[in-house]
């Protein structure tokens, strides 16, 4: 098993902003994603990059280096996300030899697994130098979101002097004030249904 170096973690929105700053330049990056999560993470990054005005995004899922180079030849997007999860050592070796065929004024992101990134570093040292510092580990936004949700719920409880149970009970009884803070509170609890009129 190859060992990848420790990389800076980035969520898809953070990476998208970082890459947007490079738009229009020849930029090569690696996004190291835990095995089995590549498809979701790539979709997330595609969404985030595509949210910037004037950025066309393409996703390629080649099985081999030869297929990648064929597909790249017909792609004019500003940002190209390459699912390289299926690349093994022979693909990286070939990519290193044919790296000049990658050159273009676009952002190329190679999404790979930790093991795949280790292979890349060993088998494609010249291409790895193109990537340089633009190698990041996928960070799941769920943890940050969960912390933020907890902080906001705590602030709402302190503001109103009520518990979550109080708010749910008052909403069920039609006694919950209609202030926007309570709407947010119900959504954060997963009870947005209680904003609708309750059966009596």
């Amino acid at each position: 098993m190859s060992m990848a170096p420790t990389l800076t973690g980035m969520t898809a929105p953070q990476l998208a902003l970082r890459l947007f700053a490079e738009a229009g330049e020849a930029t090569y990056a690696a996004y190291v994603i835990p095995a089995g999560h590549a498809a979701d993470a790539i979709e997330e990054l595609r969404d985030e990059l595509g949210s910037f005005p004037g950025i066309a995004v393409a996703v390629l899922r080649p099985a081999s280096c030869a297929e990648l180079l064929r597909e790249l030849a017909g792609t004019t997007a500003d940002a190209i996300l390459i699912d390289a999860a299926r690349f093994a050592r022979p693909e990286w070796l070939q990519l290193d030899r044919r790296r000049s065929a990658l050159a273009r004024a676009a952002v190329l992101v190679f999404a790979t697994t930790p093991d795949g990134f280790g292979e890349l570093m060993q088998a494609a040292p010249n291409f790895a130098s193109w990537i340089g510092a633009l190698a990041f580990a996928y960070e799941d936004p769920a943890r940050q979101q969960s912390e933020l949700r907890a902080r906001r719920l705590e602030a709402l409880r302190a503001w109103a002097g009520k518990s979550d149970d109080d708010v749910v009970r008052e909403a069920r009884e039609g006694r919950l004030p209609a202030d926007p803070e309570y709407a947010e509170w119900l959504v954060l609890l997963g009870r947005a249904d209680l904003m609708d009129p309750q059966p009596t």
Binding site: P13, Q14, L17, D47, E48, S51, F52, P53, Q145, L148, R149, R151, R152, A155, L156, A158, W159, G174, P177, A178, D179, P180, E181, Y182, A183, E184, L186, V187, L188, L189, G190, R191, A192, D193, L194, M195, D196, P197
Partner: protein
């Protein structure tokens, strides 16, 4: 009754919103990014990205919630800046170049291919001498109670206790009001408060100290 008619008129306005919460989140983030790039707000692009967050409802945990959620799904909060009920300047927020600062929170629901705006609060706080301490535009969530319904969409003009009817606006329009609109008039110098206002501020301050 007249107030009810006014609210019905303002809240019936058809808003131009994207169909998905994620799209509205991206739209607002891009508008703040643009404001950052032009210097209208002092926050950097990474700060904008950190502060504008889309939060979905957590997965249901009990059977009752599961049943309820099968009928009512896809509600989201879009938040801009941390919750700040005490108006603590140390809590992360957006900063206008003239020292005014703001945060916001929006509640939406995706329903039948469209986005329904359920509630919002947008609060802009001013430095001393800029007329009022803060402005807050609120949209309360739909309520069965008449009194609540008649002031569903309102403005707090410098006081949490004072509500005046306000037009329903899209989140983009509210951001435009906060970033470009709510400014002292450029062609007027700072006006000296009248004796009435000076006395009012002094008496209000005395009330607060009791």
């Amino acid at each position: 009754m007249k107030l009810a008619r006014l609210q019905a008129y303002t809240t019936a306005r058809q808003l131009d919103l994207p169909p998905r919460a994620k799209q509205l989140h991206h739209l607002l983030r891009n508008e703040l990014l643009e404001a950052s790039n032009t210097g209208a707000i002092a926050d950097t692009p990474p700060e904008v990205f950190r502060r504008v967050v889309l939060l979905s409802e957590p997965p249901p945990t009990v059977l009752e919630e599961l049943r309820a959620r099968s009928l009512h799904r896809h509600a989201y909060c879009i938040i801009g800046g941390e919750k700040n009920q005490d108006r603590d300047h140390r809590i992360p927020h957006f900063r206008r170049s003239d020292g005014a600062w703001f945060d916001f929170s929006i509640v939406v629901r995706e329903h039948a291919g469209a986005l329904e705006l359920l509630a919002y609060d947008f609060e802009l706080r001013f430095p001393p001498g800029m007329g009022v301490p803060f402005l807050r535009y609120d949209l309360n969530f739909p309520h069965h109670d008449n009194a609540e319904r008649d002031l569903r969409c309102h403005l707090h003009s410098g006081s949490d206790d004072m509500l005046v009817p306000a037009p329903l606006m899209t989140p983009s329009e509210l951001l435009a009001v906060f970033i470009e609109g709510a400014q002292p008039a450029a062609d007027r110098g700072r006006r000296t408060p009248t004796a009435y206002e000076a006395r009012w501020y002094a008496q209000t301050h005395a009330l607060a100290r009791r």
